[in-house]
């Protein structure tokens, strides 16, 4: 007999053969997961899908983007072909300023001969170029400019912001004072100034290189964005990193000998990724807006390449007779900017519950 006050476990009374029986079906049910465990990302997506406005905006963006990429591939006309100009023949002015769904003289003749001609959905512009494909192509350019400009802002902003936040001290102080100054510069004026000067400087420097095809104006736009718009992104990242770097896992990483670059890349940036995605999503419409503004002033893409802003600007000359040529790109820009803004708001609501309060 065992001492009743002993803390030793009495093996026989606790462990019996019955404890090692397989679990019954009823008992197994306790272990079934009622619902699969969710991740941060899946949770956010679920919230995003529930948000009707954001979902519709997202669908609009996808439709516009896909058609801007795919349509020019099989469309029978191109954005730079002047339909009235055929090699070896005098210019056929009947192709200029066609109304929507009408045809030029030679096309009329071919239709009467029984041929099928693809209609000019929005007519042609003053140089006889199919206007529909110019709008599609302009949308492509505007979207691409917005996207790449935001990527540039993202990369510069993350790099500088995380360095300032992680290293701190004097480096942080100097970077943040520079950020303060750039932040208080009147951005649009600086954009106009830099864009008007850079395109002249760059056009000679770019001659003969691969970049010439993109055009000096777009490159200068990217440079301007890279110089001016990284500040708010880097402010945001710095703020996040300042609080994240006090976390235990950073201390643990430091204790195991991780270098600063590794900690920033592997631990800190992944943890502020939702902030990064949201502000990038809201940066894209901003960039599209700036591009169209500059194009409207004649500082945007190089002719004959169209962008939505330059199409609107060109159409301003014929506004009395061809108002629809201005309305179409205007609607497309507004639609893109509006849906990107609404989608960005939805993203923020879905992925950053803290901001919601």
């Amino acid at each position: 007999m065992k001492n009743p006050f002993s803390i030793q476990i009495d093996k026989d009374s606790y462990v019996s053969g019955a404890d090692f029986l397989p679990a019954s079906d009823e008992e197994k049910e306790y272990m079934v997961q009622m619902r699969p465990s969710t991740t941060f990302f899946r949770d956010g997506v679920k919230r995003l899908v529930k948000n009707r406005v954001a979902l519709v905006s997202f669908i609009i963006i996808v439709v516009i983007t896909v058609s801007a990429i795919v349509l020019p591939m099989f469309w029978p006309y191109t954005y730079e072909d002047m339909l009235g100009v055929q090699p070896g023949r005098p210019v056929d002015a009947s192709y200029n300023n066609l109304a929507p769904m009408t045809y030029g003289k030679t096309e009329q003749a071919r239709i009467e001969a029984g041929e099928k001609i693809f209609p000019h959905l929005f007519g042609t512009d003053s140089s006889g170029r199919d206007y529909f494909i110019r709008v599609v192509y302009g949308t492509r350019i505007s979207l691409a400019v917005g996207f790449f400009a935001s990527i540039i802002v993202l990369i510069i902003g993350i790099t500088i912001g995380s360095i300032a936040g992680y290293i701190g001290g004097k480096v942080d102080l100097i970077i943040m004072r520079i950020v303060d100054i750039i932040y208080s510069l009147p951005d649009m004026l600086m954009v106009i100034l830099l864009a008007s000067v850079l395109r002249m400087t760059l056009s000679t420097a770019l001659e003969g290189t691969v970049l010439e095809k993109i055009g000096s104006n777009i490159i200068s736009l990217f440079i301007v964005f890279g110089i001016l718009y990284w500040v708010s992104m880097s402010r945001l990242i710095r703020g996040q990193i300042l609080s994240l770097r006090e976390q235990e896992y950073v201390l643990a990483a430091q204790a195991t000998g991780a270098k600063a670059g590794w900690i920033i890349r592997k631990h800190l940036i992944p943890n502020c990724i939702s902030v990064v995605i949201i502000s990038t999503a809201l940066q894209i419409p901003n960039a599209i807006f700036t591009e169209s503004y500059l194009s409207f002033l004649g500082l945007g893409v190089n002719a004959p390449m169209p962008s939505l802003g330059s199409l609107a600007s060109d159409a301003l000359n014929g506004i009395n007779s061809y108002a629809y040529r201005l309305v179409i790109p205007a609607i497309v820009i507004s639609l893109i900017v509006l849906s990107l803004n609404l989608f960005g708001d939805g993203l923020r609501d879905a992925f950053d519950p803290k901001l919601n309060a």
């Binding site: 510069l185 004026l189 409207f296």
Partner: protein, 309 residues
């Protein structure tokens, strides 16, 4: 005002001065980095004539000497030199000429935006989730997403070309009406949203409930208690609003043919009139920086609870 506020104002003032200096410096050096210089577009000029032109405008001196002369002229005399393309006129003359129209345009637009924005925002907040609130929110969302030049041309097409109600020329009688509306719609929409959200915030506060419990009349609560506090965030928008109106008027004046500073700016860019581009950029930048400074300080003075950074 305590010493902390004073320190903040001094700090903010220093930043504003620094910003203006950066604008002047960047503008100067960027403009002088243009290849070929300002006389490039002139028809083939002989070597001696070019030399004479450069000597006349002081461009034969080393760059840093030119820079300090330029800086000194701005600080002491607010002088930006002569215009290169409009012979016989100085840059500051042309700017102050254009400013007369633009300031009128901008101030009226700002005033309309402020008043109608606050009223609409308050209505939306007081009728929360009712049909009128929804209409206001949908419209303001649309206006916020529409670039000023799009707004301008759409109004131009509607009222000038289709309906023929208003003239499309800024010089004509009533010609400033459309540019004013164009410029005021975006800030109005923004102020409406700002007022609505801050008003909703204030209406949920305890002191509003206390006032209600005391039996204060509805209108007294709205105007005496809620409105005053919910207008504070609107003050911070003064600076950005001015910046928007300034950049907006650059294209809007172009669309409606208004003889203001924005139109001068665009034509100086097209004509490569360098002193004019520099002068306009600097003057407009100073305007925006000063307005930002004023609205920041006002914000702080009006509401002492606000934490300073």
């Amino acid at each position: 005002m305590n010493s902390k506020t004073a320190f903040y104002i001094v700090k903010r003032l220093a930043l504003a001065l620094l910003t203006v200096w950066v604008v002047i410096t960047v503008t100067f050096f960027v403009m002088h980095a243009v290849p070929g210089g300002p006389f490039l577009s002139e028809k083939a000029i002989s070597e001696t004539a070019m030399k004479a032109l450069e000597a006349k405008y002081g461009m034969d001196k080393p760059l840093h000497v030119q820079y300090f002369t330029y800086l000194k002229d701005i600080v002491t005399k607010f002088d930006f030199g002569p215009s290169l393309k409009q012979r016989g006129r100085t840059v500051i003359d042309i700017i102050s000429d254009g400013m007369k129209t633009s300031v009128k345009l901008g101030l009226v637009a700002a005033f309309i935006a402020l008043v109608s924005g606050v009223v609409l925002g308050a209505i939306a907040a007081l009728r929360r989730n009712k049909i009128i609130d929804k209409i206001i929110m949908v419209l303001t969302t649309a206006f916020v997403s529409m670039p000023s030049f799009i707004m301008g041309v759409l109004l131009l097409i509607l009222f000038v070309i289709q309906l023929k109600w208003l003239p499309g020329n800024g010089n004509a009688k009533g010609g400033l009406l459309l540019p004013i509306i164009t410029l005021s719609l975006y800030p109005m929409a923004y102020i409406t949203r700002l007022t609505r959200s801050s008003m909703l915030d204030v209406l949920g506060q305890d002191y509003i409930r206390t006032a209600k419990a005391k039996g204060v009349s509805k209108w007294k609560i709205i105007f005496g208690h809620a409105m005053k506090n919910s207008l504070i965030p609107v003050i911070t928008y003064f600076g950005p609003m001015l910046a928007y109106i300034v950049t907006g008027s650059i294209v809007v004046e172009q669309i409606f043919a208004v003889p203001g500073i924005g139109r001068q700016f665009v034509s100086s860019i097209i004509n490569r009139d360098y002193p004019m581009i520099m002068g306009t950029t600097i003057v407009l930048a100073i305007l925006i920086v000063v307005m930002n400074l004023v609205s920041d300080i006002l914000y702080k003075v009006v509401d002492p609870r606000i934490k300073l950074d």
